[in-house]
């Protein structure tokens, strides 16, 4: 991973990279050793286990509800990955979902056409993200503190606008559109926009200079600046995208449950962050990939629906999510510690591999 970014390699780069422990192995072995592969493998194992053991897990209806429930988490997890890769965090996403949901409801109640109200709500989400981003980039404030503040602020606006009331009269053409399926099957239509979003964010993060800039900032914001990355603008864009997509999730949430309320999506930010970190994105920034995040989101969704079908309560699901989150970060530290020990043991076993660079930034 670090080889592509590492430093001002002089002309001798034709032979040099082979000495890195990472590159010394074959590409397939490297691919299997990544966090993404581990998460996807775990996901596969859970699915196989659930299909074998949990009754009705393999029914089409399970997949239907799994997709509908996981959609907001997946949507927000994508831009959240961008933010976390830069080493920042956004805790306010669930509050943005709530405030856009309420705004969508209030605008519609006041007579705005639904399509217009939806667009305005999404734009409001982008604005909320821009506020986060500007506070972080322009004033140089820590994103953790800023988004704890806006978590309360946006949620407060949502609750303040509607109080304890809810807006529930939504035209069926719109609510049905969100939960529609392909013909006779139980495959929901929203799979298509979800897949498009995953591909779009995958391309954005891994195949554009913007995406490379995100990784560079996460690894070292100073050296990113010196190598020509506009750190402020890149971070700001990541926050705006997060707000925008949270706005989309807010509109979806409203139509999916046919209700616009101030307490919509409470606690969703925890599930999103759990999914992203489970997917192998480093909380320290600079490391992570969209396939892994997709795996993390699906893992949380599959475990949740399997436990629910198995008759477990929501509490057990909560415990499992928490344990997974802790394990996902502790395991990375544990593996790093183990590999360092293993590598230190045979110091004379002439591997001639300079262990300095790749492990130094580890964890």
């Amino acid at each position: 991973m670090s080889t592509t970014l590492s430093g001002p390699s002089t002309d001798g780069s034709a032979t040099a990279p082979r000495t890195y422990a990472d590159s010394a192995r074959s590409p397939i072995a490297r691919l299997l050793g990544t966090r993404d592969a581990a998460v996807l493998g775990l996901l596969l194992a859970v699915v196989v286990y659930a299909v074998a053991v949990v009754p009705n897990f393999d029914s089409e209806l399970t997949v239907y509800f799994l997709v509908l429930d996981v959609a907001p988490i997946l949507l927000i997890a994508l831009p959240m990955t961008l933010v976390i890769v830069t080493g920042e965090i956004d805790l306010s996403v669930a509050s943005i979902v709530a405030v856009t949901s309420v705004l969508f409801g209030v605008l519609t109640r006041e007579g705005a056409p639904i399509a217009l109200a939806a667009v305005l709500a999404v734009l409001a989400g982008a604005l909320a993200g821009a506020v986060n981003g500007l506070l972080v980039t322009r004033l140089g404030l820590p994103s953790l503190a800023v988004t704890i503040g806006t978590l309360a602020l946006y949620r407060g606006i949502a609750v303040g606008l509607l109080g304890t009331t809810a807006i529930t009269d939504w035209p069926e053409t719109w609510t049905d559109a969100v939960t529609a399926t392909f013909g006779e099957t139980q495959i929901p239509v929203i799979v298509v926009p979800l897949a498009l979003a995953v591909v779009a964010f995958g391309l954005l993060l891994h195949f554009t200079s913007f995406g490379r800039g995100l990784f560079a900032i996460g690894l070292s914001s100073e050296s990113a600046r010196f190598s020509g990355v506009d750190v402020e603008r890149t971070k700001l864009l990541a926050f705006v995208l997060t707000g925008l997509v949270s706005g989309v999730a807010g509109v979806y949430f409203t139509l999916r449950y046919g209700s616009s309320r101030g307490d919509n999506a409470t606690g969703l930010e925890l599930q999103v962050i759990a999914a992203v970190l489970l997917g192998g994105v480093s909380i320290f920034g600079g490391r992570g990939a969209i396939p892994g995040v997709l795996g993390g989101v699906l893992l949380i969704g599959v475990i949740g629906s399997a436990l629910r079908l198995d008759g477990q309560s929501a509490n057990v699901i909560q415990i499992v999510t928490g344990v997974l989150l802790v394990l996902s970060v502790v395991s990375a530290a544990l593996l790093g510690w183990l590999s360092r020990r293993v590598r230190r043991r045979p110091p004379t076993a002439a591997e001639a591999a300079p262990p300095a660079v790749p492990t130094a930034g580890g964890m």
């Binding site: 965090i89 506070l135 004033l139 140089g140 404030l141 820590p142 953790l144 503190a145 800023v146 704890i148 503040g149 806006t150 978590l151 309360a152 602020l153 946006y154 949620r155 407060g156 606006i157 609750v159 303040g160 109080g163 304890t164 101030g262 925890l270 962050i273 759990a274 970190l277 909380i283 320290f284 309560s313 929501a314 509490n315 057990v316 699901i317 909560q318 415990i319 499992v320 999510t321 928490g322 344990v323 997974l324 989150l325 802790v326 970060v329 502790v330 990375a332 530290a333 544990l334 964890m363």
Partner: protein, 346 residues
């Protein structure tokens, strides 16, 4: 921050002789937040004198914040080490239910139950601390995870049961409502906790080392401080105080249902940040955090008097947190340029 980079045990204010001590008090970050609190109380009381000058109003002024004060003190100790403890709300709920269960199922004396709850809180906090200190993983993630786990355990254990005031010994309930010299006893408990923590943080080696670790973790390690042990202490203290807050909750409300302590962790973090505890550690005091807790709860109670529906309370809290961190940034930058200027002069 800079004053703390000198070896530990030296107080925060080195040139504090005579008149400059008064200036230091006036310039302290805590004074600003205290003035804001007093101003808010003055305005609300001017509109409705009953807010402070009635027996109920005066009692609530001290009684309502006491639980949050205890939590904010623990949270401040953790944040000062450049960590954060998001699991305190879940610990509060779990220990409150544990206490209720013990009252219901065993005949243990009140004092023993209180000790058990505080110890249980300390153990839960220790779990956080062990994971943070030894896995070297950000506390934010770890305690986000244990927030889920502890709350899940609590809900799974409690099921649809709920503990009513009639199950709680009268001694504890009357403790929660009675006053000593006009000051509610729960508030006195929170004052004692605050005083002990403030004294320890200011004067003891352990307390100063918490600042040193939060100010510059790498330097603290190089200096030979027992950073892991100190971080464990901070988390255990935060957990124990959350356990104590659970007892205070039982004593105050009597009823323990599934929602106990839900979301209060953000209020505790908010109180600390508003009170001048820097989110990246190394500066701030537990006293400031406690005043922040008073401000938060007073605003919560006072908004309807100002004609603002209390639905907007969270929005105001959010604005306060944002205002506090912006203010801290401005102050820190001013201090930075001042120090630079002084260095040039010498």
């Amino acid at each position: 921050m800079t004053a703390l980079d000198t070896p530990p045990a030296a107080g925060a204010a080195s040139p504090s002789r005579g008149g400059s001590r008064l200036r230091n008090v006036l310039k302290a970050r805590e004074t600003g937040i205290l003035l804001a609190l007093l101003a808010f109380l003055a305005v609300t009381t001017a509109i409705n004198p009953r807010f402070v000058f009635s027996t109920d109003g005066f009692r609530d002024l001290f009684l309502t914040p006491s639980i949050l004060v205890v939590l904010a003190v623990g949270q401040a100790m953790v944040i000062i080490t450049r960590n954060v403890d998001l699991s305190v709300g879940s610990i509060l709920g779990l220990t409150a239910y544990l206490a209720g269960r013990l009252f219901l199922d065993t005949g243990l004396p009140i004092l023993v139950v209180v000790l058990v709850a505080v110890l249980a809180g300390a153990v839960l906090g220790l779990v956080n601390g062990l994971l943070v200190a030894f896995a070297r993983v950000p506390a934010l993630v770890i305690t986000l995870g244990t927030l889920y786990v502890y709350r899940g355990i609590y809900l799974q254990w409690a099921g649809s049961d709920r503990i009513n005031a009639s199950d709680i010994p009268d001694g504890l309930l009357s403790f929660g409502t009675s006053s000593l010299l006009g000051i509610p006893q729960l508030a006195i408990v929170s004052f004692v906790v605050l005083a002990l923590a403030a004294y320890w943080m200011r004067t003891s080696r352990g307390g100063r080392e918490l600042y040193a670790i939060g100010s510059d973790p790498a330097a603290a390690t190089l200096y030979g401080l027992k950073d892991k042990q100190r971080i464990l202490t901070a988390f255990a203290a935060s957990g124990a105080l959350a356990g104590l807050a659970g007892i205070l909750y039982v004593s105050r409300y009597g009823t323990i249902s599934s929602g106990v302590g839900l979301g209060i962790e953000l209020e505790a973090v908010g109180a600390a940040v508003i009170g001048g505890v820097a989110i990246f550690g190394g500066s701030g005091t537990v006293v400031g955090a406690a005043i922040g807790a008073y401000l938060l709860t007073s605003i919560d109670r006072g908004l309807p008097i100002l004609g603002i529906p209390d639905f907007w309370q969270r929005a105001v809290v959010g604005l306060l947190i944002l205002g506090a961190i912006v203010l801290d940034k401005v102050l820190a930058e001013r201090q930075h340029t001042k120090l630079l200027a002084e260095r040039h002069r010498s």
